[in-house]
């Protein structure tokens, strides 16, 4: 299957890079804007700001009254949202063809003219909304604090991946309007963003419109980037978290190569061979044969400053995590000895299918163009991404498992029901 999607690119004088992809099968356009800022750009003590700022971007700008952003888009039959990760912040809309100009007006107004409309009251309300988001998505949810606990164990306190993207709630309280202004001027500049348009649009139509709405926004200063030393664990880290859960769950994480670096695709394949599918090794052993696990999952969490490879196993009622950790380590050791060609074929099929699935929608394509541009410099990288998967060999996957997982220390988190620390994984189950 070929995934060559035609992408035309141009740049404005202020540094905004624009990607245009035409697909006229449905009269809609995906408008997707990435700012190259995320929680990795924050500092200890001031965490959660990139995400809080994302919320303020929907509250109106100089020419867009409070509330009008969503009202205008919804009344035009469009959907929109945004999201923040450690590496980047994105804003996306999917609009009927006729509303493209409206979309660009709204998107450019908040890139160029946000500050005049940002008030203490808006900041306070969105701070409350974010605190509720934190309660709903993390604090009031079983295993909701596991991810941030795992990352905190894997990365040292000063590393930008140490803290959760939603931030520590105490830090949010310290954020004031001055922080909003500095953050906006530092990161929300056209030279720190890329804009992708995909769907019922062509470059001849897009270019004058983008020039018209974004052209007057001044270029910002050079953007500072965090340059932490490469993260590594000197030795294994073990953490136990008591939580309001029924079933114990084991999390294991290792440092691994950055997004698109050599080894990244190998570990994507390794995750599919290890877990997540009915024929994968841990699923067969722990879920189907021994029936000691409720589910197993593994993934390569690819990032800009480095990645983490993560394995998650949920125990059946009453099963301790020590034996699950032992099984994970044994499975990895056997993968470091040999991978069957049919296992790799299956993993590759799965990864290809996921990629094609994502590229089916114009929204998925637009987001991918921005992702590829950010991480590889080439918005049209999809076909090369596919070729990256096709170049994998059983040997290259095997070697990556040995280098990054078997021969390296892990952060091991046990989440157990309150009062049941006896179910946690105990040290000494290693090689």
């Amino acid at each position: 299957m070929s995934l060559s999607l035609t992408v035309e690119t141009f740049a404005l004088a202020n540094g905004l890079r624009v990607f245009v992809h035409t697909d006229r099968s449905i009269p809609i356009v995906a408008v997707n804007l990435w700012y190259h800022v995320g929680s990795k750009d924050e500092r200890p003590g001031r965490t959660g700001f990139a995400h809080l700022f994302e919320h303020l971007m929907f509250e109106g700008s100089a020419h867009v009254p409070a509330g009008a952003f969503d009202e205008l888009l919804e009344a035009a039959g469009a959907v929109n949202n945004g999201s923040t990760t450690p590496d980047r912040t994105n804003y996306w809309m999917v609009v009927p063809t006729g509303a493209l100009e409206l979309a660009l007006w709204l998107e450019s107004d908040r890139m160029g003219w946000l500050l005049p409309a940002t008030t203490q009251e808006k900041l306070d309300t969105q701070r409350d909304v974010v605190k509720n988001e934190c309660r709903q998505s993390y604090e009031n949810r079983p295993y909701g604090l596991a991810w941030e606990t795992l990352l905190a164990a894997l990365y040292p306190p000063e590393h930008p991946y140490h803290w959760p993207t939603i931030g520590y709630m105490a830090d949010l309280d310290t954020a004031g309007l001055d922080d909003v202004r500095v953050f906006f001027r530092t990161y929300y500049a056209p030279n720190n963003a890329t804009l992708a348009l995909a769907g019922d649009v062509d470059v001849e139509t897009a270019r004058p419109l983008v020039e018209r709405y974004f052209g007057a926004i001044p270029r910002g200063p050079a953007v500072p980037r965090p340059t932490p030393p490469p993260a590594r664990l000197a030795e294994e880290r073990r953490v136990v978290l008591e939580d309001s859960v029924q079933l114990p769950r084991l999390y294991m994480a290792w440092h691994s190569p950055a997004f698109f670096a050599p080894g990244d695709a190998e570990l994507d394949a390794a995750s599919a061979i290890l877990a997540g599918h009915r024929s994968s090794r841990l699923y067969r052993e722990l879920v189907m044969e021994r029936q000691v696990a409720q589910d197993v999952d593994a993934f390569q969490n690819s990032g800009f400053l480095g990645s983490s490879f993560v394995v998650v196993v949920t125990a059946r009622p009453g099963v301790g995590l020590t034996e699950l950790e032992r099984a994970v380590r044994e499975a990895l050791a056997s993968m470091a000895a040999a991978i069957e060609p049919r296992e790799l074929e299956r993993a590759r099929n799965h990864l290809e299918t996921s990629l094609v699935d994502e590229l089916q929608s114009v929204a998925g394509r637009a987001d991918r163009f921005n992702l590829y541009a950010y991480f590889t410099g080439d918005p049209g990288y999809a076909q090369k991404d596919l070729e990256r998967l096709r170049r994998l060999t059983p040997e290259s996957v095997r070697d990556a498992v040995r280098t990054y997982l078997v021969d390296a220390p892990a952060a091991v988190l046990s989440v157990v029901p309150a009062g049941r620390r006896d179910l946690a994984a105990e040290a000494g189950t290693g090689r």
Binding site: H63, E74, V79, V129, R135, Q136, Q246, R278, T353
Partner: protein, 453 residues
């Protein structure tokens, strides 16, 4: 170019008429219908088999059986073990999914066009020749029991389950979770699964949907080859009467001591999918709580900062499903959030909506239809709606016009008819000690405190 007037809002242009893909219908002699539509620019095909085997037809003491039976299909066939089956599917790069809803069981694959033939052959084998190995059924049942245990600790899932329990009379199937109850699932056996399969998984009343890079003749040939000799059985009759549990508004507090948040569900029995007010209700709900700029979200999130989001919706089923307003709020604003939500309901009943709101809601609903038809899976899901609810094949061609016909009078009328503050089940999953007294003080109705063990 810097001379543009930024205060001028670019008016959205004329909406380009969206042509819903043409739907072709064929039928096999055994009663299985075939719906096909061409779609997309990648060589992919999604096949969905929709069977009239939904959980509404489960015996009351076997709640969760439809879910278990659907899952058990992948446990192996007469000629392949579960593991061999998994390998065969994954070698083709196919994910097989099986899902039981109240009204149907849906089985689906998405596959590159060049692997469609072997994939569909395997699909038919899974659906028509399941082996239901005893030990695999026991394993899947135990997993289902563990999932039920987990739901009790997951506040959102728990609140949804409790809303169903307190909205519907206990005899109504919809009062139970689809996944079943500890008591009902613990007793399920291989024989139960096999009996449910034999009685319900059959071609009559079913529909095979194929969407993507395929033409109707090729689809018909494949359907005939793999499903043509599937013997039909008499169709089951699913008959029950939907009644609400409370006739006067009652507050049910489900205690989670020390919870930092309250999960609130304000619910009532809604209407069936084939109700004459279906389109006015869509528009009315969009104004109340169906979109980001809905009244509930603007009030509870944007004005009060009580929550990350508030929404409302009707679950449309063959029989009347629930209408539910849902919101999660910090514990200390639980009662104010309930009060504000009901204030919005009452305001919509008393004053109706403005013409601008109605027109924005209509445009939103009509506008998002094509946005949700971008993938073969999305279009197949719409065709599955046609199958499950026996809607005409050109239903979606007329959808925008039906939405456009709703006016402000309709909205106000259906708000008054279908939003009834006097007979609500208000369910709050949270710290009872802290929230029950405040909820009592609202004076909306009696407060019952329940404990989940």
């Amino acid at each position: 170019m810097s001379g543009i007037d930024r205060t001028r809002v670019p008016e959205p242009g004329e909406v380009v008429a969206f042509e819903f893909p043409a739907v072709q219908r064929r039928g096999l002699d055994n009663g299985l219908a075939l719906l096909t539509a061409r779609h997309g620019q990648f060589p992919l095909v999604t096949a969905v088999l929709v069977l009239d085997a939904g959980a509404a037809g489960e015996p009351a003491d076997k709640a969760g059986l439809a879910h278990l039976t659907a899952n058990a299909l992948e446990a192996g066939t007469r000629s392949r073990s579960g593991e061999e089956l998994a390998w065969a599917l994954e070698r083709l790069g196919v994910e097989f999914t099986a899902e039981a809803s109240w009204d149907a069981v849906s089985l689906a694959i998405t596959v590159p066009r060049q692997r469609l033939e072997p994939a569909l052959e395997l699909f038919a084998e899974i659906v028509r020749q399941p082996a239901f190995p005893e030990d695999e059924i026991a394993r899947l049942r135990d997993e289902q029991l563990a999932s039920i245990l987990q739901r009790q600790k997951e506040p959102r899932a728990l609140a949804n389950d409790m809303a169903a329990r307190f909205i519907f009379d206990p005899d109504v199937p919809y009062a139970r979770p689809l996944i079943g109850l500890q008591t009902s699932v613990a007793g399920l056996t291989r024989d139960d699964v096999d009996a449910y399969y034999r009685a319900n998984f059959q071609p009559a009343g079913g529909t095979l949907i194929m969407v993507g890079d395929i033409d109707p003749d090729a689809a018909a040939a494949l359907a005939e080859r793999h499903f043509g000799d599937w013997a039909a059985a008499p169709r089951r009759a699913v008959d029950f009467h939907v009644r609400r549990r409370v006739e006067k508004t009652t507050i049910f507090v489900v205690d989670r001591p020390d919870a930092v948040q309250s999960e609130i569900r304000i619910g009532d029995v809604g209407v069936p999918r084939h109700h004459e007010d279906y389109f006015p209700l869509l528009v009315m709900n969009c104004i109340l709580g169906g979109a980001f700029t809905s009244r509930l979200n603007l009030s509870l999130r944007e004005r009060h900062g009580f929550t990350y989001g508030a929404r409302s919706g009707f679950a449309f089923r063959r029989q009347p499903g629930p209408f539910i307003i849902q919101v999660a709020v910090a514990t200390d604003v639980t009662a104010p959030a309930v009060r504000e939500a009901l204030r919005e309901v009452n305001a919509l009943r008393e004053h109706g909506a403005t013409p601008d709101e109605v027109s924005a809601a209509r445009d939103y609903l009509a506008g998002i239809l094509p946005l949700e038809l971008q993938t073969t899976e999305q279009l197949a899901a719409r065709l599955a709606d046609l199958a499950v609810f026996s809607l005409p094949d050109d239903y979606f061609q007329h959808y925008p016009a039906r939405i456009a016909a709703v006016d402000a009078d309709d909205v106000r009328r259906v708000a008054n008819e279908h939003l009834r503050p006097d007979r609500l089940a208000i369910v709050v999953v949270g710290d009872a000690q802290r929230v029950a007294p405040e909820l009592e003080a609202l004076g909306l109705g009696p407060v019952e405190v329940h404990t989940i063990t």
